[in-house]
Subunit: 118 residues, 2 copies
DNA sequence: TCATATAGGGATAAATTAATCCCCTATTGT
DNA sequence: ACAATAGGGGATTAATTTATCCCTATATGA
């Protein structure tokens, strides 16, 4: 695994949240798990732009941060299920607020973002 | 300026928010500007962990995304003031929700994050 | 005359994150 | 025998983001 060379700042709430929520797909993973899409293959189908590899990595980090828990069923073919921990559930309203803002200003945001890409 | 090589996904609200809010210091900049710290040097003092360079870059992006506006007073020594646009103000409750969650679980988050750094 | 404050930016290096590529396990169905 | 399905991971490269270093300008105060 990658080992940090710079110790992160953990001064305020925003720093702390950043540490667990930064990551291109993390909020979406939490969101879809909360919606009941528990298995890795389901999550991959919900987020086709990400590779399985990255999803695995980000899921593992979410697990280490105790936001999700993982159950591995000892069956063949393998079966795995993720679910939110109680701690992870407390994040849902926050993610919801973020997503709602994005949805509300969707048109405007899309235009602004595209404009900046030349 | 850096020119992207991969077109970002802009599928859902979360993608869109990410485009304007990703950036290590952006939420803090918006927050402090909202609190009335308008001048670059003030902002730098509020965020001493960031270099002026980075703050300038991120402020510029916030400006291009119409979240903040910038006034340059033609005086010497130079004077500049940032303020939130109406659009930018709509983000404050969202940032607030994020920061509050971080503050609420500060102890736990700090412990979890530090544990993962070995 | 020299340091300080104010605001800014180019060029480059370093750090971090994400993407690519390829490989493994074991069972069921064709 | 072989493909498909399910879940996973090492090694490496590419992309992106931050940090460093250094330089510009002008006025004021010591």
């Amino acid at each position: 695994m990658y080992e940090r060379k710079i110790i992160p700042n953990l001064n305020c709430g925003l720093d702390l949240v950043g540490e667990v929520l930064y990551g291109k797909w993390k909020m979406r993973l939490l969101w879809f798990i909360n919606e009941g899409h528990k298995r890795p293959s389901e999550l991959q189908r919900k987020i086709p732009d990400a590779t399985r590899r990255v999803l695995n990595i980000q899921l593992k980090e979410l697990e280490e941060h105790e936001l999700v828990s993982k159950i591995i069923y000892p069956v063949v073919p393998p079966k795995v299920e993720y679910s939110l921990t109680d701690f992870g559930k407390t994040l849902i309203p926050v993610i919801s607020a973020i997503g709602n803002w994005g949805d509300e200003y969707e048109e405007r945001l899309r235009a602004l973002i595209l404009k900046r890409l030349d």
